[in-house]
């Protein structure tokens, strides 16, 4: 079942075309990777989906509902949660309060304050920073703040989770942990995920499909193994020389069979 469908999504700022007619289709249960060189429009696409930037499209549907005209908070209530590349915690609330806000205002009505706190604590446990519940975001390390950002989104119990470079600045062990967490969120909690990432190892291991953007256009889409070999993608990242070499290699291997 298609959870999110976007046709011809375009975003322009002043004279700059950040996204040109991008088609996107996310199936329930997917972990969709969104990659591309810097400036390709990946965060812009997430912004367009979550409603933080004005976008034109033929259609943008979530769970069958047209959301292109809805304000961000309405889309959140429908079940779309996201994290930010530059984390935006609520500085003057404690960690557990930060996460509780997610539980309080999501589309799910939680009847009592104690249940809200419970939901928040569960999210903190899932992410691994339960011990920091009473601290303020300022007192957390960068990777802990990324985890807080994730916990906030999880507390909303979303159907679709948009992750914007959650692994930026993490070390090897932290990346492994995050990969396992994403896997858990998808397989055990049943949440569909769109991941924007630069850490290739993570993308390859965690996603079942990848979409590649370049200068605001979609240039490739498919299974991770295929994407990595695709000349268009290689050209976008590494330039024409490497792409030509890739084409020659592929032709050679095809001729050898």
């Amino acid at each position: 079942m298609t959870l999110l469908e976007g046709k011809a999504v375009s975003v322009s700022f002043g004279g700059v075309q950040a996204l040109s007619a991008v088609d996107l289709s996310v199936l329930e249960g997917d972990v969709l990777g969104l990659i591309g060189p810097n400036g390709a429009g990946k965060t812009t696409l997430l912004n367009a989906i979550s409603g933080l930037c004005p976008a034109r499209s033929e259609t943008l549907k979530f769970n069958g509902t047209e959301i292109s005209r809805l304000k961000p908070h309405r889309r959140a209530k429908l079940g779309i949660a996201r994290t930010f590349q530059v984390v935006k915690p609520f500085d003057r609330l404690t960690v557990v309060e930060n996460v509780a806000v997610g539980a309080m205002f999501s589309g799910h009505k939680i009847p009592t304050r104690s249940r809200v706190i419970e939901r928040a604590r569960v999210a903190l446990e899932q992410v691994g920073i339960a011990s920091k519940a009473d601290l303020f975001p300022r007192q957390l390390t960068l990777s802990e703040r990324q985890q807080l950002e994730l916990a906030r989104a999880l507390a909303m119990e979303p159907a679709l989770l948009l992750l914007d470079e959650v692994m930026a600045g993490l070390n090897h062990a932290e990346i492994e942990k995050t990969m396992a967490l994403i896997h858990h969120i998808n397989k055990n909690l049943g949440i569909t995920i769109v991941v924007v990432e630069h850490v290739m190892k993570a993308i390859m291991n965690v996603c079942n499909r990848i979409v590649v953007l370049h200068f605001g256009k979609k240039i490739a889409e498919g299974a991770p193994a295929r994407i990595v070999e695709s000349p268009e993608v290689i050209q976008a990242y590494l330039g024409k020389r490497f792409a030509d070499r890739q084409r020659r290699d592929q032709a050679q291997r095809a001729a050898q069979r």
């Binding site: 979550s50 409603g51 933080l52 304000k71 961000p72 908070h73 309405r74 959140a76 209530k77 949660a81 996201r82 930010f84 935006k88 915690p89 609520f90 500085d91 003057r92 609330l93 404690t94 557990v96 309060e97 509780a100 806000v101 997610g102 309080m104 205002f105 999501s106 589309g107 304050r113 706190i117 519940a133 009473d134 303020f136 300022r138 007192q139 906030r152 909303m156």
Partner: protein, 324 residues
């Protein structure tokens, strides 16, 4: 201990005792104080309302409405005009609330999209614009000549007591509202949007509606204070009803006491207004100088507010609240 649970633990014993003493004093005041001191106390209560109004929009929502005195003036003039049209004081005062709400909604819609400094000075411009509008419209508002309100036949002794009580009730209402904000989900929504508007939006908070509601509440209480003030002084004119110093004083009181706290603005109001009254009495010639210096000192040395520095009031959480 979670932030939620800490709140439920309540304040320390010294503050409960002090709070009770203050409450008793406030109730007995009309029977105990001389007319002069009762008026001073009423003034403190009035500024307490203004400071709490500011606390809602500044402390909790993060929008620095320096020109919030516009609501004070709106309250004064709505009450004045209402009474000039024949309404009794109670009704005229009650009607200031819908007027304030309508203004907050109409003006908040465009202005609350501005951030930081821009919003602050836009509210100042709004205040000045309203003042000019009253002057130019003239007619039933009396324009630049001012507007006289009907004098109550009861005579000053009884009247001042009634005014005091009405002001006390309004302050109680304002404080109760802030208390409710401090603990309720609406309060969390406001604080979230204060710290990160986009973060709040993607978590399901309708930031536009929340901001406007907060300003409407802030404006309503401020307008009520203005309405009572108008009846109290029986004569109002644009430059004093829309005096920007009213909100600046309120702002400093809120800062001094501690913004984003329930009782901070009250402490700030009591301190500054008492101080200003004493200075006015003894040092008329240099009172501006002293007030100016006091403001400079407070801002430079105690930006977190008195409440933060007084140990015997238990604060939630440990790290300081930094004013952005």
């Amino acid at each position: 201990m979670a932030g939620f649970e800490k709140k439920d633990a309540g304040p320390a014993l010294p503050s409960i005792v002090l709070g009770a003493a203050v409450l008793v004093f406030l109730i007995l005041a009309p029977f105990v104080l001389s007319n002069y001191w009762l008026r001073v106390l009423t003034s403190i209560l009035m500024y307490g309302v203004v400071a709490q109004g500011l606390n809602i929009i500044v402390g909790y929502t993060g929008y620095h409405a320096f020109g919030n005195s516009v609501f004070f003036g709106i309250g004064a003039y709505s009450t004045g005009v209402g009474m000039a049209l024949g309404l009794p004081f109670g009704l005229a005062l009650a009607l200031t609330v819908p007027v304030a709400v309508v203004v907050a909604v109409m003006v908040g819609w465009p202005l609350l999209r501005l951030s930081g400094h821009y919003f602050a000075i836009a509210t100042v411009a709004l205040n000045m614009a309203m003042m000019e509008m009253v002057i130019n419209v003239g007619g039933i508002t009396g324009g630049a000549q001012g507007l006289a309100l009907p004098i109550n036949p009861m005579g000053p002794a009884v009247l001042y007591k009634i005014i005091y009580l009405v002001m006390l009730l309004i302050l109680a209402g304002a404080t109760a509202t802030v208390y409710w904000l401090d603990r309720g989900s609406l309060g969390y929504a406001l604080r979230a949007l204060r710290d990160s508007e986009q973060g709040a939006q993607v978590m399901g908070i309708n930031t536009t509606a929340m901001k406007i509601m907060a300003w409407a509440a802030s404006g309503s209480f401020t307008a009520l204070a203005g309405g009572v003030w108008a009846y109290w002084f029986t004569f109002i004119e644009p430059s004093s009803a829309f005096d920007i110093n009213i909100s600046i004083k309120g702002y400093v009181m809120m800062l001094m006491g501690g913004l984003g706290t329930v009782f901070g603005p009250l402490i700030g109001a009591a301190f500054l207004e008492l101080f200003a009254t004493i200075i006015w009495g003894k040092f008329l010639k240099i009172h501006l100088l002293i007030l100016g210096m006091l403001i400079v000192l407070v801002v430079t040395l105690m930006p977190q507010g008195l409440l933060h520095h007084l140990r015997w009031f238990k604060r939630r959480g440990k790290p300081k609240e930094v004013i952005r």
